[in-house]
Structures are given as structure tokens and as C-alpha cells.
Amino acid sequence: MKTITRNASWLVLVAGLIAVAPAHAQKQTPPEGGPAKAFAVPANETYTLGNGMKVTLVPYGIIPKVTVSAAIDAGSVNEGSDHVGVSGLTADLMKEGTQSLTSEQLADATAKMGSTLDVAANADQTIAQLDVLSEFGPQAVKLLADVLQHPRLPESELERLKNDALRQIAVRSSRPQTIAQMKFRKILYGDHPYGTVLPTEADIKKIALQDVKNYFDGNFGAQRTHLYVAGKFDVAAVKKAIAESFNGWGKGAPRVEKLASPKAQRVLDVTDRPGAPQSTLVVGLPVPPPTSPDAIPLGVTNALLGGSFNSRITANIREQKGYTYSPRSEISRRYHDAYWAESADVTTQYTGASLKEIFGEIERLKSEAPPATELKGIQNYISGLFIIQNSSRGALISQLQYVDFQGLGENYLKTYVAKVNAVTPADVQKMTGQYIKPDEMTIVVVGDKSKITDQLTPYQKGN
């Protein structure tokens, strides 16, 4: 199943499209279908507990399952430079039992509800969640409350989890795509925590249990947590369980902002991978954050340029040239921070040619506004995608959580589609010229140096 969804989700996340080309005279025109049905984002109820914890409830759908998900503002950004990796290790240790449940008892308890316990840290947050059969909604709330407030954080499991972390780091950093990502982030963000994709071996080895406890105590608490419950569930019973199990949680330390100042600069960084049949490319630069008024027009521009199957860059280097299988551009976001990047694994001999086409498509969009029909196709696509992004409990939580975390306001989702559709061809041209500037892009390449060095010579410096 995942094999299907993994790639299919690429199509969901990515946007895009060129409008339907006029049919040839002898060809049939596709039927238009009926009038569009109204769509509104499913209603939710949001409230705040006395200790500052926020709660959002979204009754949705007919499938008898419910997701209980807590987003805590505690991520690698909060680690401190002496404790890189502690956020991930803390998340791992939180799955090893609570003060009243051993690791094995906790495992059996989640399985009994038809779930696994997921706890994972990203750059800005830790997400802890259970996804259970509907009848277990209140119990899931209570169990998650126990994990968040009374984790056992057992010393006995620390060495095992550190060794697991070392193995995972070794495995992940053997992938050329991860290597490219690590290089790209480091060049953009330098010593800011966003510049670190994976901790080093030395980082992991020096973490002690006290570091985990300090990190947990300093960053976990009610006022930094937003609990989401979505799916089919007994609202009154879940509310009661939330009140009973979370009202007593301490506020914890307030969140500390640590904004990044990523650099836009032409750097060509090449990592040698002898014998590699492909070059792994990441090409990009910082762009305005999600809070910017330009964020939505820029998102539309990205969808048209490289962010979908049928976008210009993909149509060029995949469907015309056959240089690559899965190229994509994206706007990658962290707290009040974003960058644009095109990523692709291209046949070694076409490394330079691929860069030429990527930059060529950017220049073309900068020099000429896209046809209105092409843009309309993109806008329709994003509008349709928006329905899918708000039509499952997991997707709904992701959307709401993104809006809450970035502080975009409750009107954001209500006005999103209208704003997408208000973008003009001139706006797209302007966004491209203003923000997607090849001369200021970092170019990271992981490939066979002996075969690509000459091809890359023209890209050493921006013009």
C-alpha cells in the first residue's frame, strides 16, 4: 500500500498544471462535467485550558477511527549547540514507558486500541499521536496525557536508543538525496539549528540522560502544546477526558523564538560519489516566510514552475528530455522561514544539461507572464487539491496545525482558495523575478566528480 501512497502523495503535495491544450479539429473535446459543488473546511471547536494548552476538536467522517495528536513547540531548534540530537532522542525515550506503565505495557496498551504510539521531533516541534478505533477516543487522550506528562525516560534504555540513532544516521546519510539535503541546509543556514539535518555520531555519543531530562523539563509543558482530535468520536466523552487528564499539567517554560536568517548566495557544492549513475541535485534559495502576503502567489508560481507533474520544469527535463524520473520543486517551510528548491536525480551525462534547462525555465517565466489558461489550470488544480487536503482526519490535522503553528489566523483556510484564484499572470512573472533568482541560488550536486566537473564549470558563479 505504502508503495502506492508514497508516490501518489507526491502528486498530492505537489501542485500544478498547464491548461488543456485546444483539441485538434478531428478530436473530441472532453466533457466539462457538472457545476462545482460548494466546499467548506469542516468546522472545528477550539478552546484553551486554564494552563494554556490549546485544544481543537474536529468531528469528521464516517470511518470509525479517531486521531489524537499533540503538537509541542519543542524541536531541534530548542536543543542548544552542545546538545544536538537531544530532541530526537527524547522523542524516542518517551515511547519507553510512563511512570505507571513499563515499555511493554505501553506497547500492549496502544495495540489494544488499534494504534501505535508515534513520537517524533522535527526542527520546530515534537508530534506525539495515537490513531485509534473510535470507541477508544477517551482512553487514547488519557494515555497520550500520561506519555506527555509522566514519561519514564529510563536510563536503562538510553544506550540502546543511542545505538539505534547511530545506525539510523548511518543508513539515512548513505542516501544521496539526504547527503544533498544536508549540504544544502548547511550552506543556507550555517550554524542555526535549521542547518542541521542529522546529528553527527559525536553529537549522539555525548548525550547523557540528564541532557534529555533538562531538555524535556525546559521545553515540554501545557502552554507550548496544542492537542488536536479529529475523526469520528464522542465529543462529550473526549472533552471530559481532556479536562481530567490535562488540566493538571504545568504550564512549563515559555517558548523561545530563534529566527533564522538564511543566506541567498551562489555556491556550487559538489560531493563525489564515484561511479554514481545519476547526479543528485538540489538548487534553491530562501524565499519569504508563510506569513508574507506573497506566500500564496509564490506557492501558485511554484506549482506552475516545478511543483507538479505537469509543471514546466518537470515537463521539460522528464517528459521532453527523459533526464530524470521524479524532479520536483517545493517551498519548504519552518517557523516563519521558507526556501524554494528544485530537487532531481538526473542521468550523470546530463547533469549540466539539466541545470541549463532548470535555469532556462526560470528565466522564461521571469521574462514572460504565463498564458492565462495555463495559470487557470494551476489554480483549478490547487483548488481541487485543497478539498483533498481537508477530507481526511490526518490531513485536516496537518492543515490546522500548520495554520496554528505559523500563526496565520482562522481566516487563512477560509480565504485560501479565493486568494489562489486572485493571482494573475503578471503576479506569477513578478514573483519569479523577485524571488526565484538563479544568480543567488545554492547548487548542491552529489555525483561522480570525474564525469561532471566539466559540465558544472559554467555554474561556479552567478552572473
Binding site: M1, T3, V12, L17, K112, G114, D131, N163, A170, N310
Partner: protein
């Protein structure tokens, strides 16, 4: 488009159903007996049609499944079924290159296709008012391909790059999702490299593409499934209008796909110069689909591999710290329902060079052995049933109706009975502790398994070639 599979074995979403029969303390019997509406019929040209309404969101999911998977592709053309799938996006009678994709996306939809053991599928999720547009487009490409040499050359490049990114330039590329079927099976249809040798992919000819289409892409070899927000009478009219006139074809006989019973354990080694850590995978031949033992294996898989309480996780991860996770499942390229032929249940771990592969196997056996030697703990069996039901519902809710569409299409394609989706519960409910033990004794025999030991190797020593027998 999307290929036949990717990298690391995913935690497969298991889509089985079962009633929870409440023996455990926490669980209460569910009041939800979730029932899927199923409307199933056939057109005179043989096209099977499945309709399932769900008005929760204003979207529809449309899937067209053809009964041609990579198992039975031509012998000298490994990877051809998958290459062909790409060609179905390159042009049809009324839609030129890229126009199918443009049409779906400009109407607010998403689309993809995939090639699996026993089918190739094409699907879209669109706003529900665009159902007619998508049915027209799928009927158009069922009616005939319009592709040329340039399209084929382009897609040979794309598919070649797909194999490079997912296998040749990837650590653990092809492990174990390609390696295991190749090593465990002896019948060529089940045992060849279905992603394809690059030379075979590059050798494909345009006339072979046309012949493949003429042979397998016909309404009497296909199922059309629509799930979501539509009215049944309207949908039936549209299906008749666009698909009713497509001609059926004479289908070739299905070759013999059976595998001989495996009596002796197979151990195979693979050198992977790109992998930083050793890895090990085991694959057990499954009981025949839809037998009592098959359902028992569904529950065994839940107990051994799925969820926080899985026996292998408890033994290898929590107790012995040999690895950080045990992944796997029945049918690494799908689930235990969407295939029709010999299949494996697999488990896979990455571990440290200080550990011997024999230790990993011995720990796996420690987790497995109690299932073979004594009756299963009723509480553990209960948890397995709950996990099954939970993952079944996840599948049904997956991705704009895709998961439910896939189940219904598979049951129509392989069993001529999509309503089976509502009977799975009862089948799993019938599984007794005695049947679990009997099934484990026969199917979790060491003689019924294939082991792949992957070892990191010096860069110069090897390429990412498929595993070789020891």
C-alpha cells in the same frame, strides 16, 4: 508513472478486517459495524463495474484495473509491464502527450498509475462534478493508444532513471522487495526481475507496445471502480455512454503460475557497496489466497510484525537491541488482498556489523517459535484482531477513497465479488488459536523460508545487482 515500488520496505498498511471479540479488559465491543455499499454489474463487453457511494467529501475516486501485472510480461522483456504503464500516459485517440495529465490536473484532480504482480492500475481523485470528464478520458485510453517512437524513447529514459534512483544508486536498492521474490520463487513468472534489466528496457520496440495493448487492454480484462460522491443512476448512464462501445478481445490463457512446495531453507547473500550496515530479510511462502490458513496468516502477521506489541519488535528491538525496527508484511508491493498468485510474508531488519546474521535469525526464531509450539495467548490474539480492524478502516479512508477503491477493484478482478469487502470480518473472526498454531507449524517452517543476508561491500567489489544464490 510511479513505478513498481520503492526503497525500504514500508510498514505496510494492512487492510484486513475483523470483529473485535472482547476478551481483553480495556476494549469494549464496537458498536460500529462499518458497512461499505457495493453495487456490482457487468457491461455486455465484459467490463466489470463497481460503484460505492460515500458523500462525506465532494470528491470521487475512479480506478481502472487491468488484469495484467509484471508476473506475466514477455520473457525477454523484463520490466516491460511497467514500461508499458508509462506509455498509457503518452497519448490516446483524443488526448496527445501530456494532455491526459493536463486534463485531470486542470480539473482539480490528481492521478497516478502503478504496476503490480497481478494488475496494472490507473486512477484519479477529482472534485465530484468532474466524474464525467475522467470517465471519458479513461474510456479514451481504453479504446486505443496513439504513441510514437519519440514517446517510447522518452519513457525508456524516464524508466531507466526510475530504476537508477530506486535501485542502482540507492543503498539497499531492491532489498528486499525485488530480491526476495527472485530468490524464493522458482517459476520464472514469479522469480524474474520485474523492475527490469536496463538492457531489456532499452530494447523494447514500439510494435511490442502496440501488441501488449491489443492483447491485454480490453474491457473484458478490466474493472472500473468509482468510489465517492455520485448518484448511482447518473454514474451508470455515464459508464454505459463512454465504455459501452469499446470492443472486447480474445484473451490469452493465463500461464501456470504455481510454485512447488519449498522444503528446504534457502540462504542467499547480497553484497551492497552502497549500504553502510548489514541487513537481513526473511520471506515465507503464503498459504493459497482465501483459504482458512490465509486468514490465519493475516493475524500471524499482525502478531509478529505489526504494531508496538509485535513479537519481533519485542524480541529484536526492545529486549535485545539488535535493531531499531522490524518492517515487512504480506506482499511488499501492496497488501494481502491485492494479488492473485504465489506470495511471500516478509520481515526485514538493518543491524550492526558487530552482530552476526545467525544471531538475527535466531532472535527471529525465538519470536516465532511460541506460535508453532503452543496455543496463542488470547489477549495477544485479541490485539491482533483490533489492529486488523483499525488498519482496515485506515485503508478504506485512505487518500480520497483510493484505498477502498483498490480493495473493491481487487476483489472484482480476482474474485468476481467486490462485496467480499464486507465479509472479511467474519473470515478473520473464524480463526481459532488452534488454526493459528497449525498454520504457523506449516508456513513458518524454516524449510518454507528464504533468507537474504545483505552485507556492505567495498565500492569496487560489486554493483547493486540482484541477490545471487550461495
Amino acid at each position: 508513472m510511479q513505478g513498481v515500488g520503492k526503497g525500504r520496505v514500508r510498514r505496510l498498511v494492512l487492510m484486513l478486517a475483523t470483529v473485535f471479540c472482547g476478551l481483553s479488559a480495556v476494549a469494549e465491543p464496537s458498536s460500529d459495524q462499518f458497512h461499505v455499499p457495493v453495487d456490482y454489474y457487468k457491461l455486455p463487453n465484459g467490463l466489470r463495474v463497481v460503484l460505492s457511494q460515500d458523500h462525506t467529501a465532494p470528491t470521487v475516486c475512479v480506478g481502472v484495473y487491468y488484469r495484467i501485472g509484471f508476473r506475466i510480461e514477455p520473457r525477454d522483456r523484463t520490466g516491460f509491464a511497467h514500461l508499458f504503464e508509462h506509455m498509457m500516459f503518452q497519448g490516446s485517440r483524443n488526448l496527445g502527450k501530456m494532455e491526459f495529465i493536463k486534463l485531470v490536473q486542470a480539473n482539480g484532480g490528481i492521478l497516478n498509475g502503478s504496476t503490480r504482480f497481478d494488475f496494472t492500475n490507473y486512477f484519479e481523485v477529482v472534485p465530484s462534478n468532474k466524474l464525467e470528464t475522467v470517465l471519458w478520458a479513461e474510456a479514451d485510453r481504453m479504446s486505443g493508444l496513439a504513441v510514437n517512437e519519440e514517446n517510447l524513447k522518452n519513457q525508456q529514459g524516464v524508466v531507466g532513471n526510475e530504476v537508477k534512483v530506486n535501485v542502482l544508486n540507492a543503498p539497499y536498492g531492491g532489498f528486499p522487495w525485488i530480491d526476495l521474490p527472485m530468490a524464493a520463487n522458482s517459476n520464472w513468472y514469479n522469480a524474474h526481475n520485474f523492475y527490469g534489466d536496463l538492457t531489456d528496457i532499452e530494447a523494447a520496440k514500439l510494435e511490442e507496445v502496440k501488441k501488449f495493448f491489443d492483447t491485454y487492454y480490453a474491457p473484458n480484462n478490466a474493472v472500473l471502480t468509482i468510489v465517492g460522491d455520485f448518484e448511482t443512476a447518473d454514474a451508470k448512464k455515464l459508464v454505459e455512454k463512454y465504455f459501452g462501445g469499446i470492443k472486447s478481445s480474445q484473451l490469452p490463457a493465463v500461464p501456470d503460475l504455481t510454485e512447488p512446495k519449498q522444503e528446504k531453507e534457502k540462504i542467499v547473500t547480497k553484497q551492497d557497496p552502497l549500504a553502510p550496515r548489514p541487513a537481513l530479510a526473511v520471506g515465507y511462502h503464503m498459504p493459497d489466497r482465501n483459504t482458512a490458513e490465509y486468514y490465519a496468516m493475516g493475524l500471524i502477521e499482525q502478531m509478529l510484525i505489526e504494531g508496538d506489541d509485535a513479537l519481533m519488535r519485542k524480541e529484536l528491538v526492545l529486549k535485545r537491541g539488535l535493531t531499531d525496527s522490524v518492517d515487512g508484511g504480506i506482499n511488499l508491493l501492496g497488501n494481502m488482498f491485492n494479488y492473485q498468485g504465489p506470495m511471500l510474508m516478509a520481515a526485514e531488519v538493518r543491524y550492526d556489523p558487530t552482530t552476526k546474521p545467525e544471531t538475527i535469525l535466531e532472535a527471529m526464531d525465538t519470536a516465532i517459535e511460541p506460535l508453532r509450539t503452543k496455543l496463542v495467548d488470547p489477549q495477544m490474539l485479541d490485539r491482533a484482531r483490533v489492529k486488523l480492524r483499525s488498519s482496515l478502516y485506515d485503508t478504506m479512508g485512505q487518500f480520497g477513497g483510493f484505498g477502498l477503491m483498490d480493495l473493491l477493484a481487487s476483489f472484482a478482478l480476482f474474485d468476481d465479488d467486490p462485496a467480499r469487502v464486507n465479509t472479511l470480518v467474519g473470515q478473520f473472526d473464524k480463526v481459532t488459536p488452534e488454526l493459528i498454531q497449525k498454520t504457523a507449524q506449516e508456513y513458518l517452517r524454516p524449510g518454507n523460508r528464504t533468507v537474504i543476508e545483505l552485507q556492505p561491500a567495498p565500492k569496487a567489489a560489486s554493483s547493486g545487482a540482484p541477490a545471487k544464490n550461495q
